[in-house]
Symmetry: D2
Subunit: 152 residues, 4 copies
């Protein structure tokens, strides 16, 4: 079930990770009494934001640098349904990429049990509405330190 | 069941009205297989926007005049549950008000049957973030013509 | 700003209360970068469920007794907008009512600051789809103990 | 940009298709004033349901035959952002599959312009909560007629 969504090279630094808990709300349920499949986007987003906050590379940090980071690709793999009132763990990873692009993978867990996995790919768009070829300075600096092993 | 949410004086012009149809989507259902109660806000908003478009007094028209129109009050009265796959009619009324304020009432109907009613009250906020005491010019003009019987 | 939505008689027991925290998620924001007005229903519901869990009178407890508790009325009064990334407190009260009906009031607070208030009224529907005139036994027992001062 | 998400063999019947229009609602917008990325699941679902209704193979038709069809995989590829007030076309295809599984692909178009594409894969779950290995009879019959060229 464990899936590797992004290939890493040997010299790449290890993914950055963040963990956050979340339960399913009543309004997220569907008539089958499980979480509606479209609401996983909100779970993954909450995981992604926890990682952004932890490392100061949130969408607001990009925004302060005149860059927005819209999604290009979004994928969800459903293993087991999420149920009302249970608390799940969202584990998010940011994977190394040389390009001006963000590769996130996600796992939703109930204890040790994998409930869902998925990934999202984000591009970077500058003030002129064009896709950036190079990482913006603040994030290039961040990646430099990440590769140097200063960020864990 | 029919409720009058806003009192009118005899000399007030009649409410403006707009009608739009909408069906319930699968993701709007709850575990009881009826529309979740919070989604009525989206139905009412769609009715309000239909009225705004019809009379050129939409939230975008206000926005072009540096005014936003946030909600101050919102009320829903549930008569019968809305079901998946049925097409409902949303009837929206804008009620006359001398003040810089928008009073909308709503009815959701299935054919002749009243399913839901409700209202919303909106204030007007100017560029300086303060609540407007007087209607902005474009809307004062609109109200002048409304009262003169030129807008129906 | 403080509003009393339900009148109490002198001999009525005091409302039951529950408190829960919640922050605004990115997908709950609207283009004005504040929480969309329809999402307050989810905040109030989360408050209501916290109270239900605390006192064992949740919608699931009613359901186990063949009773559903749909909303009849729902009201929101908007004082200040909710913003992304801030943690708000939802204070929920269940008010005494002799009838087979649930009267909840809600306040959303940021520290001491009142951001929103509101209420919801719920009826009780039995297995035969009819509105109950009398409280179901388990809830009548609960109310007996509530009035006797055994539940706080 | 045009992507083929499911490989077809030469002898496979052509995909079934359905088209439905939908506009973006205010509550589906995010702070960047474009549709929030998670709401595409609702667009795709609406397309899928239009196809189900057209061919009598909706999730309700499966349900009547004691089969539910939960998602196993869901993918969205974002080309251009969706904007408020514009009407988009959702083109949905059901692709032939020998197995007890449903392969849908989706395109959201603005006129001729591809805005979004994606796919979803659904399994079939029987009354005993197990994944079906064989198609249920009503759908096997449907597929027989589809392959025979009787369904277009």
């Amino acid at each position: 079930m464990k899936q590797e969504y992004f290939k890493q090279n040997l010299q790449d630094p290890k993914p950055l990770t963040a963990t956050i808990n979340r339960s399913v709300r009543f309004d997220e349920l569907d008539p089958l009494n499980i979480m509606w499949h479209g609401n996983y986007a909100s779970f993954f987003e909450e995981g992604r934001m926890a990682l952004g906050l932890k490392y100061n590379i949130s969408y607001q940090d990009f925004y302060k640098n005149d860059v927005v980071i819209p999604l290009k690709k979004f994928y969800t793999y459903y293993v087991l349904p999420l149920e009302f009132g249970k608390v799940y763990t969202i584990e998010t990873k940011l994977h190394w990429n040389e390009a001006a692009r963000l590769d996130f993978s996600y796992e939703i867990l109930f204890g040790d049990i994998l409930m869902t996995s998925g990934y999202s790919v984000h591009l970077m768009i500058g003030k002129d509405k064009n896709v950036l070829v190079d990482k913006p300075d603040f994030f290039a600096n961040f990646c430099f330190r990440w590769k140097a092993g200063e960020i864990l």
